[in-house]
Symmetry: C2
Subunit: 398 residues, 2 copies
Amino acid sequence: MGAEGFRFDLIKGRARGPRLGVLHTAHGDVETPVFMPVGTQATIKATSPEQAWHAGARLILANTYHLYLKPGHEVVSSLGGLHEFMGWSGPILTDSGGFQVFSLSSLRKIEEQGVTFRSHIDGSTHFISPEKSIEIQHSLGADIIMCFDECPPYPVTLEQARSSRARSARWAERCLAYHAGRVACRSGFNGEPSGTGEAGSGKRQALFGIVQGSVYEAERTASAREIAALDFDGCAIGGLSVGEPKEMMLSALEWSIDPLPERKPRYLMGVGTPEDIIQAVARGTDMFDSVLPTRIARHGAALTNRGRLLLKNAEFGDDGSPIEEGCDCYACREFSRGYIRHLFKAKEPLALTLATIHNLRFMANFMARLRDAIAADEFSGFAENFRGTYARRTGRKE
Amino acid sequence: MGAEGFRFDLIKGRARGPRLGVLHTAHGDVETPVFMPVGTQATIKATSPEQAWHAGARLILANTYHLYLKPGHEVVSSLGGLHEFMGWSGPILTDSGGFQVFSLSSLRKIEEQGVTFRSHIDGSTHFISPEKSIEIQHSLGADIIMCFDECPPYPVTLEQARSSRARSARWAERCLAYHAGRVACRSGFNGEPSGTGEAGSGKRQALFGIVQGSVYEAERTASAREIAALDFDGCAIGGLSVGEPKEMMLSALEWSIDPLPERKPRYLMGVGTPEDIIQAVARGTDMFDSVLPTRIARHGAALTNRGRLLLKNAEFGDDGSPIEEGCDCYACREFSRGYIRHLFKAKEPLALTLATIHNLRFMANFMARLRDAIAADEFSGFAENFRGTYARRTGRKE
């Protein structure tokens, strides 16, 4: 099928190992490997779109589950779709809501048709099916949307992993069929999308399938083959970084990536830390998302090349140096550790903003250097250097 | 005496009635009448200096009491003084700490020498005298600093008002003597300020006296004469907007301004609303400060020319229009009422930031239009029009 306006070009690398690529979207191009900051409720917490953009955020993620519940996807749609709503003119990816339905809501009833659950906000009852998730994501109008899948926790039995993987495969086909049908239907309507303008048009939205299978090789392989066989615009690896040991995650990632087509983007959902990203890039992953950099910022932890810096520490009280010497972010250009510590201790909102800006910038710069290293055939050296320096401070300070 | 680098030019108007002027400071010129946003803890809550500047803030106020307690004026001084510390390159005014000592702290003991009080943060005991207040303000290094005065609440008896006014007068002389002494001493030191660089130099700091006297005409007049007789760089009117009826405030303001020198700036402390500013400008006031625009923003109230708009109201849920049509602030240029309502309902920090930016911009634009009206000899027409339009919505929505 293929979404209009969406294309992935693999610039360097093959099916495995570090790769360079470009995601072309209707809202601009994005170089991969890319890290996506998370704007759960249609805002990257504690920053304006302007600040996040200047900090280097390009492709960002918003959560379908949260926006469906509040303010409601119809409201977002009536206000022009997600880009217009949140004032973000760059590309956006929405998840399917599946992960949150399985992790945040209560009283879930999972059936073949879909999932009935209670809102974590007000306890109201809702039903989301694969079709409904795609419909909501059409309303939101992100550039990249995701299949609705069943996300098993860790650990599950092989039996559970298999049954869940099989259901996710059936749901993936239903998502694709619904997406294709709606797109065809929309295209047929005077050639104009019937949605709420460009942002809401399924025509321009890329749909990614999701590999599941918990930590079992046979299930991961089977799932990846199922997803690879379908006409998705990209392939995500889901169900990882949910508590399993790091080694297991990396093995499951390898099993998941192995059967995937070389020329489609691979997206490892919910990862993560710079260390994990290096490991996953080494195994052929192109896209990442995590709340980590923005969440730890709000708790006063800054990412630096020497590890995490705990900004509330008393030692920084009269420290006139920036969070990280040489960093070009607004926080480091304009403010001292002493001032930022004061803001945290005084519970000033600007504390969260400055730490978030710094961590966004750190991730953007980190990914840019990582891409440069791949381009220069120096990825392993970069990875080794980074890990050596990064681990030292993290070890000392935490 | 006169502070180097500080000068007030009266451009239009006389001792009474609306006036236009320019405050020249080492950190830039400011047109008067001016409204000063408040950055209590060395930050205008929920905004970056960049955002506040773009929203039109120029001369801002920081609170000596709060900064003395946290992070401590020595820390601010060691980090380069207030401008450097908070990343604000425009002019800054600090209050004396008196108002907060009298309103926030507990277990006050007021003696002729100074005030002993307990911190509202941790209960620790502190002593601030007129000299100590000036010393702290020298450390902080604002462009304009204030006398330490006794701020009686409302109501007090005539007897209390008189005794308090007399003490404030004695304290004013001590502040001036200490400031002059330190300035002379600093000037004598190789011609270089002995403080922590330019920002911390008493030489360049203007000192304002403060008129007190509660709501009693004789006391206000006596206090204003006492302040007028001393060599201050400007004259503030304190002790108002503390709960007294509006009519009383305006009378007390008139009694306070009447004896003041024509060519020094007059600053009405803690005021306030656009309506009050219009009344005070009509009576010859040049400077204002209030937490109101930024505080109500954080509670979801936006200032508009048609009164306050309560952004959390359900009616704005799918409203695609900006907070105020025609407003040139970042919030109004980029976002809808519907989105900002969503941010408030979702408790996102960006809600506070956008509402604060809008209210800062509203106040800056309001003061600019007010100055234009004075320049065009149309102040009464402007005041009448504004009040007519503003009152309608405020009446309807609250």
